[in-house]
Symmetry: C2
Subunit: 318 residues, 2 copies
Amino acid sequence: MIELVIGVDVGGTNTVFGFVDRDGNIYAKGSIPTQKHSDPHYFLAELHDAIQSAASTISVGYSLHGIGFGAPNGNYYNGNVEFAPNLPWKGNVNLVQIFKQYYDLPIFLTNDANAAAIGEMVYGGAKDMKHFIMITLGTGLGSGIVVDGKMVYGHDGNAGEIGHTTVYPDGRQCNCGRIGCLETYVSAPGVVRTASEVMARSNVPSVLREIPYKDLTSKKIHEAALTGDAVAMEVFELTGKVLGMKLADTVAYTRPEAFFLFGGLAQSGDLLLIPTKKYMEHYMLHVYKGKVKIRISDLDAGNAAILGASALVWDEMK
Amino acid sequence: MIELVIGVDVGGTNTVFGFVDRDGNIYAKGSIPTQKHSDPHYFLAELHDAIQSAASTISVGYSLHGIGFGAPNGNYYNGNVEFAPNLPWKGNVNLVQIFKQYYDLPIFLTNDANAAAIGEMVYGGAKDMKHFIMITLGTGLGSGIVVDGKMVYGHDGNAGEIGHTTVYPDGRQCNCGRIGCLETYVSAPGVVRTASEVMARSNVPSVLREIPYKDLTSKKIHEAALTGDAVAMEVFELTGKVLGMKLADTVAYTRPEAFFLFGGLAQSGDLLLIPTKKYMEHYMLHVYKGKVKIRISDLDAGNAAILGASALVWDEMK
């Protein structure tokens, strides 16, 4: 009899789920569209149906121990998804409470970056670490902080928003309403903004000059950098500088053993990692120098969201 | 039979100690000079003698449960004072190990800002809080971060150095070798630097213009502000702005319920508190707005160092 849990990742477009064992093996998977229902009750009813039909495909004997949700603006303390701008439901929605009608199992929920951190701790490179920080790089920059082997949720569940701390007080405008947030520099759109600035500042030729701003993507800039495009390479250097500066500051808060980078931009590997390490070391307080690791997440990118959500349950059971 | 512990605060000039009960009442106190011995063994022998003679003045029956040390660069994990620039001993000195020859009691050590945080948690305004941050304002800016009712020490004991995180990347030079550290703005010398800048920038008359830079102190600037001196008042506004900006960022890490300010500059009360609150609210991410308190420490300033060190023991016993 294999012990399994269900991990559910609620994304802006699709909601994916899987049945996962303690080692991160996935026994069944499925997905439903997130935007179809403006009433979360219908959304969860459809999710329940999809889970039941996936369950019927599992050919081994298993026991089910709980369900973990990763969702934007998910609050671990109360099970609410709180005013998530990219989801079709308004205000606070208590996914955990609603979903309990279908399952007599423990159900947990947290935000996607925290779920990724717990995934790294349960299945990935942070297995033996007590203090580490996960940085997720996508449309925004999310973070999950682990101290003494426990997720830091803070007084009301909203801790760990490093993407919305200031790098340059007179810097770029952020969607959150603040100025100079880390996320405006280190994220997929942040990299595009940096490319636009670099092109304005220099006269260096670049393939990026042939692409309108609205069509520029971090992927195109990555591809240009791989061909040696000087502007694109400068963009990664500057992105690593800003991230390295902020990680140097971040060490002074909770002194993690390591940072893990996850998500689209992290796939750029050394292009991002080398300048990030260099500038983190340069800007770090002397007592920390040479002691803090930066790693790309060990989690399989295709399944990481499901794994992170499922890890919530294993972490609770430990 | 009263239960007591000993709190010892190792300062740059004097080392003070006291016998303290669970409520923070002090039954005997004493002090020795810190700089007399370059060998820490002699220093601790003298400390032991002074403690014994203070003990003989206690007229009630008591049991002794442990000793707590607060010291600059004190490391909780290993009991070392690590390369403290203002103490007469070189390198790493294991105060806990050496002092164990005198007492068959648990002995704990941490840095002074962490001790202040634990003091606030055991005796002061943070008694019922699980998540808060202590900011100590003196020659430098120290900090102690509490998450889930526990001090955050991090991977190697050096967590909580918010004074050495960046406010302005092209800002002031810090003694630590970095540029733009919070401590270069928000500390006694930081306030003097700000006064000097404000006098340079404006033509507003001020009594501070009659004092040479080397004789300017935060106390004189405070006194001038109380008389309505426009330059001095601007200095507190700007100091509160920088502190408020940084506290706004800090909330995004561990989402504390409150910040506590302690030390000389915190005695300025509303002069510092009002602008700090205003700017923290202004710069904070929307989900945190209106929810985080800033308070002046409840601890009696004259005994706070002893209380903080003694609290370490009670905190371990809880």
